[in-house]
């Protein structure tokens, strides 16, 4: 895949990818865009091995998902401080953030449940596709979706 073709594909898919990462980062746009760029650079470096079977978006999502998990793992130590800070600030800045409630509820989910829920409800993937993107079994995805849905409904009082 040439650079021009890659950029053309990315221009088409970037909104979906950024939306996915924005949900995973619970509304932190700068973090989400940084991760999206990292994931796209990784995709560009490995696009020689990509075989175009019309699944470019799933392939990108898989790379983005792994990039997100690596990022989470590297931030494990500071995460609790960041989350506490975000929760404190959210009481003052609710009106400043669009979709604050949903993002605050998503923040309470573990990364894998958050990913499964986002892929299922926001991006419209089915269980088989989510299992392929997250490299897990379909049963595990079903459990993550079920648990995540219950927690979200409880938090959002749906």
């Amino acid at each position: 895949m040439t650079r021009e073709v890659f950029i053309a594909h990315v221009e088409r898919e970037q909104e979906a990818l950024r939306g996915f990462l924005l949900a995973l980062c619970c509304g932190k746009k700068d973090d989400a865009d940084d991760l999206a760029q990292d994931a796209l650079v990784k995709a560009y470096l490995s696009c020689a091995g990509y075989q175009d079977k019309g699944k470019f978006r799933s392939w990108l999502f898989k790379i983005a998902y792994n990039t997100f998990l690596n990022h989470k793992a590297s931030l494990r130590c500071t995460e609790s401080i960041d989350e506490a800070r975000a929760l404190v600030s959210s009481t003052h800045a609710d009106s400043e953030f669009e979709h604050q409630d949903l993002y605050l509820a998503l923040r309470t989910l573990p990364p894998k449940e958050r990913s499964a829920i986002t892929l299922f409800y926001l991006n419209g993937y089915n269980i088989k596709e989510i299992a392929a993107i997250t490299d897990t079994s379909e049963d595990a995805v079903k459990k993550q979706l079920s648990r995540g849905r219950d927690k979200l409904k409880e938090k959002l009082k749906l």
Binding site: I7, E15, Q37, L45, H99, Y121, L122, L145, S146, L158
Partner: protein
């Protein structure tokens, strides 16, 4: 598995829209340029390493062949080198010149092999970094 209607509607209603798509692509293009530059630099380094390895190999082969040829061409019962000044230590060196030359050659060959292995490992590491 059935979708929860309320959750689905919430997610779809809050689907984000981005107004800075052009900036995002411009920023991505810059990152890709930087990565390509680094990649080219690393590939050039790998090529240089390979060249150095070939040169080291050739120098080793030629100097080894010349040294062994010289050692074999001299009579076995005569020392390889002698000294003008006859002191105890220099005399000992001259008497054991063949053994010393063989040890020196072995050391050189060992160093050469270690250097080649180290270069190969460096190249493999750089390739892995490029792929990651």
């Amino acid at each position: 598995m059935m979708k929860d209607k309320a959750l689905e509607e919430l997610f779809l209603a809050q689907k984000p829209h981005f107004s800075d798509n052009a900036d995002f692509i411009a920023s991505l293009t810059k990152r890709m340029d930087a990565v390509e530059y680094l990649k080219q630099h690393q590939e050039a380094t790998i090529r240089r390493y390979k060249m150095m390895m070939v040169v080291a190999f050739m120098v080793g082969i030629i100097s080894g062949a010349v040294s062994i040829g010289y050692v074999l061409s001299t009579p076995a019962d005569e020392p390889l080198f002698t000294f003008q000044v006859q002191t105890g230590f220099l005399l000992w060196l001259a008497e054991n010149s063949r053994l010393i030359a063989a040890t020196g050659l072995s050391l050189l060959m060992t160093l050469g092999v270690i250097s080649i292995i180290s270069n190969v490992q460096d190249i493999q590491h750089m390739r892995a970094c490029l792929k990651a």
